[in-house]
């Protein structure tokens, strides 16, 4: 019994010490098969033999890049990064508000068309679209003012003139839209005050046409920066 225990202990000891020795050549074979340099370290650690690269499979050393062919660069122009960040934040809000504005403008125009048809296309006028059109119109006007302010007040630390570009087209379209919205506000009030007069229908038609033109201008303004 005691002899059997000793035999087991010796067997375990031999297996434990022989394991890594058998594993190392297998690892070496796998590395060679993968095409990697087997061992590329020339100097060994203390207590270990120096490892040499596999013959003919030496990986070329990475190029030394500790050269400077150009010398010190000229001092770069100072850029106000805080202003750039603020500009980006404001224009991100401007972008989001612009998309909401397009949706509001579209809704105002659709409801405005429904209101016009209800009032002037013949048949009894119900007036059921008047309040919603009014709320949408003032919301559009308010959002337009906020959105425009965000763009106009955003700092521009790197001023440059690129000639006629997409932003120029955007600005022209949004200026046209601003004129249209101002005209819409005035025309809307004037049209409402002409209740019972013969020219109310004509004013309403002009109001409708300017509404479509304003919607088109907003569409061009958004599209200029999107596509």
């Amino acid at each position: 019994m005691r002899a059997a225990r000793w035999q087991l202990a010796v067997t375990l000891l031999v297996t434990a010490t022989a394991g890594p020795a058998r594993a190392a050549p297998r690892l070496l074979e796998e590395e060679l098969r993968l095409g990697e340099p087997a061992l590329s370290v020339a100097g060994g650690e203390e207590g270990r033999p120096a490892e040499t690269p596999a013959p003919g499979r030496e990986k070329p050393a990475p190029p030394r890049l500790d050269f400077d062919l150009l010398g010190a660069p000229a001092p770069a122009p100072k850029v106000d990064e805080g202003a750039l960040r603020l500009r980006r934040t404001m224009l991100s809000w401007h972008q989001g508000a612009g998309l909401a504005l397009l949706a509001l403008q579209l809704a105002t125009t659709v409801v405005g068309q429904l209101n016009y048809s209800d009032r002037f296309a013949g048949g009894p006028s119900t007036g059921r679209y008047e309040l919603s059109h009014k709320v949408l119109a003032y919301s559009t006007l308010g959002l337009f003012a906020i959105d425009g302010s965000l763009a106009l007040l955003a700092p521009s630390p790197v001023r440059r003139d690129e000639g006629f570009d997409r932003v120029t087209l955007h600005k022209i379209a949004m200026f046209t839209a601003a004129v249209g919205m101002l005209a819409q506000g005035i025309l809307g009030v004037v049209t409402r005050e002409r209740e019972g007069y013969l020219n109310q229908s004509q004013l309403a038609t002009i109001h409708l046409a300017v509404g479509y033109a304003t919607l088109a201008a907003v569409g061009v303004g958004v599209g200029a920066l999107t596509f």
Partner: protein
């Protein structure tokens, strides 16, 4: 005819110790990023660079571009670009690379691969740039190549339009004219 043949043969090698500098007026560095709605093309307004053929049979190349000179044709977009590139903090993009020439400084028949690194936005990232080099009739070298970098790898926040970010890959095209410097 023999002189033309001789010049062509000479044209295929770089003498050790010879150096070339980039002619900025004849050279271009362009880049391209892709958004779902459109592709944006841009280019550098200024660039400087030099190449040096070394005694060990390699050619060392260095190119530097001030980021504030990058243009995409839309001033507003450029300002966004400067902001994400943090040009105030990291004003330059610098490429350093080394290519291995053939015996006697011969340029390879195919592309010459420049192994090196790109320093952009405070991050140094290894890149391999294959360039095709040819000798122009006026004796200058023309090197053309392209490679793609990952904006995420350089920790550059990708700009977005309509809440959709541009793609991660930014393709860079080089078309450099290098003139030999007098020793």
């Amino acid at each position: 005819m023999p002189s033309l043949l001789a010049s062509l043969l000479l044209a295929l090698s770089l003498a050790p110790g010879s150096s070339y500098s980039v002619d900025p007026s004849a050279s271009a560095l362009r880049f391209r990023v892709v958004h779902k709605f459109h592709t944006v093309h841009g280019q550098a307004g200024q660039l400087e660079g030099r190449a040096l053929a070394r005694e060990d049979g390699t050619v060392a190349v260095m190119v530097r571009v001030p980021l504030a000179t990058l243009r995409t044709g839309v001033a507003n977009r450029d300002q966004h670009m400067y902001e994400v590139l943090e040009v105030g903090k990291y004003p330059y993009v610098v490429f350093k690379g080394v290519g291995r020439l053939g015996p006697g400084g011969d340029l390879p028949a195919g592309p010459l691969t420049l192994d090196g690194q790109l320093d952009l936005h405070g991050v140094e990232w290894p890149v391999s740039v294959p360039v095709t080099v040819e000798r122009r009739p006026d004796g200058a070298l023309r090197a053309r190549g392209e490679f793609v970098i990952s904006l995420d790898s350089f920790r550059i926040e990708r700009p977005s339009l309509l809440f959709v970010k541009i793609e991660d890959g930014c393709r860079i095209d080089l078309d450099l004219v290098l003139r030999e410097e007098r020793r």
